[in-house]
């Protein structure tokens, strides 16, 4: 019960805090809308128009990934800059339960992206919003957010060892958009990228949402999100433990 309360309060606090950040609003709303607009225009002009709903969901997931990448990747570094990292580590609950709500909050902020791209597409590009499986969509959405939030935990615990975490975030934004086929689809990508896409939650998250919205069977993709989320939790647990021990041994907790 205490753990549930800690997770909820941490999530709600960080969600409000991130909502006040202009940078996050840009990352999660304006940037995906811009990419969605370009993609709508490209698909409209192209020889294979495809489904604009496919584009809207992909662009929304791009925003969720960006939000997780910058928010999750910089989670521990922010605490360090704000001078609150020592308190986060010194409190009785394990450090992972303090960081986890923060990374899940960054993924939740990404929901603004999905909402923005769907509304934008509906208003200006006549994108229909009719769900093939509404119940599955309602399941796929929180499961995808959870999986990406847990991936954020892995980023938080590994990026902290790199002083310029923001640069690493810049580096990983486009490649993951590309490899997970958010706007391109996976079929066109070279075969060697497939295994990479399989271990990344955005691949399965966007697949689950698309199959729930456009048609198909999203059950496998939802299950993959859950399996990957569990794996990320285990990896994040060990990485955070390693970071904490290293920082305590070397007395470098507040130093980059």
């Amino acid at each position: 019960m205490r753990l549930a309360r800690l997770l909820y309060v941490g999530w709600a606090f960080n969600l409000k805090s991130l909502t006040l950040s202009g940078f996050f609003i840009i990352v999660s709303i304006i940037s995906p809308v811009i990419f969605a607009s370009i993609a709508y225009l490209m698909f409209r002009a192209g020889a294979r128009p495809g489904s604009l709903l496919f584009v809207a969901i992909g662009a929304g997931m791009m925003g969720i990934w960006s939000s997780v990448l910058f928010g999750g990747g910089g989670a521990i570094a922010w605490q360090r800059w704000q001078g609150t990292l020592e308190y986060c580590i010194a409190v009785p609950p394990p450090f992972i339960w303090v960081v986890l709500p923060l990374t899940i909050a960054t993924a939740t902020i990404g929901l603004y992206s999905l909402t923005a791209t769907l509304v934008w597409g509906w208003l200006f590009f006549d994108v229909p919003f009719e769900l093939a499986h509404p119940a599955w969509f309602a399941v796929a959405l929180p499961v995808s957010v959870l999986a990406l939030g847990l991936l954020g935990l892995v980023l938080a615990s590994t990026f902290v060892l790199y002083r310029h975490a923001n640069a690493l975030s810049n580096l990983l934004e486009y490649p993951i958009w590309l490899v997970t086929g958010l706007l391109t689809g996976l079929a066109l990508l070279p075969g060697w990228t497939r295994p990479l896409s399989w271990v990344l939650a955005p691949t399965w998250g966007v697949k689950a949402l698309r199959e729930a919205a456009i048609g198909g069977d999203p059950a496998f993709a939802v299950a993959m999100c859950l399996v990957l989320g569990a794996a990320y939790l285990v990896i994040g647990h060990f990485c955070l433990g390693y970071f904490e021990r290293l920082a305590r041994e070397k007395a470098t907790l507040t130093l980059a």
Binding site: I26, V27, I38, G46
Partner: protein, 262 residues
Amino acid sequence: MTVSLRIFFIGGLTAYRALINWLSPWIFVPTLVVAPIFQILLFVYIGRNAGVQSDEFFVVGNAVQYASIPCLFSMTNAIAGERSQQTLMYILVTPAGRLPLFLGRALPVIANAMFVAAFSLFVSGALLHIDVPFSAWGPIALVIFVSTFSCTGLGLICAGIALRVRETAVLNNIIFGLLLIFTGANVDIDELPGWMQAISERVPLTHGIQAARQVANGAPLGDVRGLLATEAVIGVAYTIVGYLLLRFLERESRKRASVQIA
């Protein structure tokens, strides 16, 4: 005259080195070397998926468009960075001429942006087997120079706004995103609605990208001189507006005693 030249060249370079933290290879390589190549690959694959345009269209367009990252962010930082380091007031009380002081900071920005655009074009072209004739690289360099100069003018306007606005990263990210749409880097200008085409004709990089595409296809420089001249005129106009805006906001900051605060 000598003093002005010293301020322009040495002062500009010193300020650039002091204020632009991405000169560290740990930031420069991921942000300005690797990221543009993946931006190009992303749009190439979206284009293939949508069945629109050729790979070359996206490679050339995005390589030149990505020059806007150093142009916008460096130029803004070269002015606003003084404020965050608490040195802006010392700069503004000096008797140094404002023209060499502000414009001198633009020169290293242009050089950096040219490198970013040319490197992205070369590497992504090689990756995607885009055949750019060897003889075209000279004219392409000139096109990139004019385009980066033009976009640096826009960066100067952002630097002026940065004297009043705190969230400069947000501002620059929005402008970068808008340039992705309006410059025609990814969507042919003719495919845009009329009101968007009207804006496209007036923003930096649009004509530069068109010229770069033609030159990469083997057109002689003479064929694109009109596009280059238009790009240069747009650059001069933006630079003048940016300079005047900086002077105006400097005076306003003095009046309001807000030089060090946004």
